[in-house]
């Protein structure tokens, strides 16, 4: 995958240069946006509810035993908004939407639809990549906001319901508000925004590069998802490290 990094960066740059045209493509941006939301909102809710729940379940009893139970809301809240929601949802969306983007653009490539666009003097970057990138850049952070809230809720439900923890709803949220600041949430959202760009650019690039019939499309889809996830995890570390410098 790394031999293509140059091309991926170039595609990203060209798409950025096309940003002023986004208003003309707003219809397609909205279509993509709703498609992303429609396809993943329920999954995002289920996934983040249980992530919050299991986090409370794993840490809650231990903390309660050491009579640190009142920290539970803070620990669950902090790790969800800074790390778990951004990365888990981005991986989910890479699998759910990145794959679809690679498949759709890949089949357009293989069946010469992209050549047809070019003969009509329609730039495939403006027509295909730009709307997907912009829609993803908005949709994924919004999904992660939902995921953070639902994840907190999941943690609170388990904290109250599990009889080894028995921390009330109010106590959970009180603890959460003591530890989690809005800049922690902003931090998570910023990382998500970067992951959204990675997913869209990597998947569109992989789609545009597709060669060789239906098999090629399959290969592109796999590569798009795997490469997105690898890059997300690497960037997660790098971004976290960089954001630390700003937080001092």
């Amino acid at each position: 995958m790394f031999e293509n990094i140059g091309e991926i960066v170039l595609l990203f740059w060209r798409t950025l240069l096309a940003l002023p045209l986004v208003w003309r493509q707003r219809q397609k941006v909205f279509e993509q946006f709703f498609e992303i939301g429609n396809a993943s909102l329920l999954m995002v809710c289920i996934l983040s509810f249980f992530i919050g729940g299991v986090l409370a379940l794993q840490t809650g009893p231990l903390l309660t035993e050491k009579s640190l139970g009142s920290y539970l809301g803070g620990i669950v809240g902090y790790s969800i908004c800074r790390e778990l929601a951004p990365i888990m949802m981005s991986i989910l969306i890479a699998g759910r939407i990145g794959s679809a983007m690679a498949a759709e653009i890949g089949s357009m490539r293989v069946y010469q639809e992209i050549d047809a666009l070019r003969t009509m003097n329609i730039n495939p970057i403006h027509y295909l990549v730009l709307p997907r990138l912009v829609a993803m850049a908005f949709a994924l952070p919004m999904l992660v906001i939902v995921a953070i809230l639902v994840g907190w809720f999941g943690g609170a439900v388990v904290a109250e319901g599990n009889n080894h923890i028995g921390l009330s709803f109010q106590a959970f949220y009180f603890s959460l508000r003591q530890f989690v600041e809005s800049k922690d949430v902003a931090n998570g959202i910023f990382k998500t925004f970067c992951f959204a760009l990675i997913i869209a650019v990597v998947s569109c690039h992989q789609g545009l590069m597709t060669i060789g019939g239906p098999r090629g499309i399959g290969r592109s889809v796999t590569k798009a998802v795997v490469n997105s996830i690898v890059l997300i995890v690497i960037f997660d570390y790098v971004l976290t490290r960089v954001l630390m410098l700003f937080n001092k």
Binding site: Y111, D115, L117, T119, M120, I122
Partner: protein, 262 residues
């Protein structure tokens, strides 16, 4: 004629020493040809001889390994050329966008370049669809159409551009004889009305000799012969003769031994 067309006349096309290889296999082995403005130029040749690849080069989709293609004397590889001349290619497979309706496909050029209002576009779309013999298909999806219908929609989509050069890749290969005649007449009509330059790739001998001003026969990446239909018919080249006169025999030839007794 439409007011938006700045230059209603066809362009000239020159192909010089064009070579192209894919993975070490040379597909085009030095093609030279010249198409005059407003001419209908037919390219014939067996499958796999490089006709589709040649068309893709002429319209600038593929960069040549060697040689050049000039449109009105300017290289097709210069970036401004696409906005300067209106060129269209009707793909062998149609290459309609599967996510759009037939009508949206046909009107795509106008919509994306914002050349007309939506009402005007839908009027032009049904006009052009009718010109290729299609009615009431604008709201269908491409995958609801037969191969021949897709090809005709692709032609309509090319007509909407009001091109100065139009390339057809086997326009009649999936059509019934009646529709093929409609397409042939449309090709002639475009030449006579707006003097578009046409390059038609086809094995369809009736279409070729019916519409061509000049014909080139290509084999194995090289041009074998080039000339007016009459000249090509009279060529002594055995391959051209075989290609033009190929006909299957209903009665298998009698075995040699049989002749002795008759």
């Amino acid at each position: 004629m439409n007011a938006s067309a700045p230059n209603p006349y066809g362009v000239s096309v020159q192909v010089r020493g064009l070579r192209k290889s894919f993975d070490g296999q040379e597909v085009l082995k030095g093609i030279d040809l010249e198409v005059r403005p407003g001419e209908i130029f037919v390219i014939m040749g067996p499958s796999g001889s490089g006709k589709s690849v040649l068309l893709k080069h002429i319209i600038g989709l593929d960069p040549p390994d060697d040689g050049e293609i000039l449109i009105n004397g300017e290289s097709i590889q210069t970036p401004e050329i696409a906005s300067k001349y209106r060129l269209a290619l009707v793909f062998q497979s149609g290459a309609l966008l599967n996510s759009l309706t037939v009508g949206e496909n046909v009107g795509l050029y106008l919509t994306e370049h914002r050349l007309k209002s939506p009402e005007e576009i839908s009027k032009i779309v049904s006009e052009k669809l009718e010109a290729v013999g299609l009615k009431d298909v604008a709201d269908k999806m491409p995958n609801e159409l037969s191969g021949g219908m897709k090809k005709r929609v692709a032609i309509a989509r090319a007509l909407v551009i009001e091109p100065q050069l139009i390339l057809y890749d086997e326009p009649t290969s999936e059509l019934d004889p009646l529709s093929a005649v409609v397409i042939g007449e449309e090709i002639l009509k475009l030449k006579n009305e707006i003097h578009v330059t046409s390059i038609v790739v086809s094995h369809d001998r009736e279409l070729a000799f019916g519409v061509a001003d000049r014909i080139a026969v290509i084999n194995d990446g090289r041009i074998v012969t080039i000339g007016t239909p009459d000249e090509v018919k009279k060529t002594s080249d055995p391959l051209v003769q075989r290609f033009l006169n190929a006909d299957f025999k209903r009665d298998p030839p009698k075995p040699k031994a049989y002749e002795k007794f008759t």
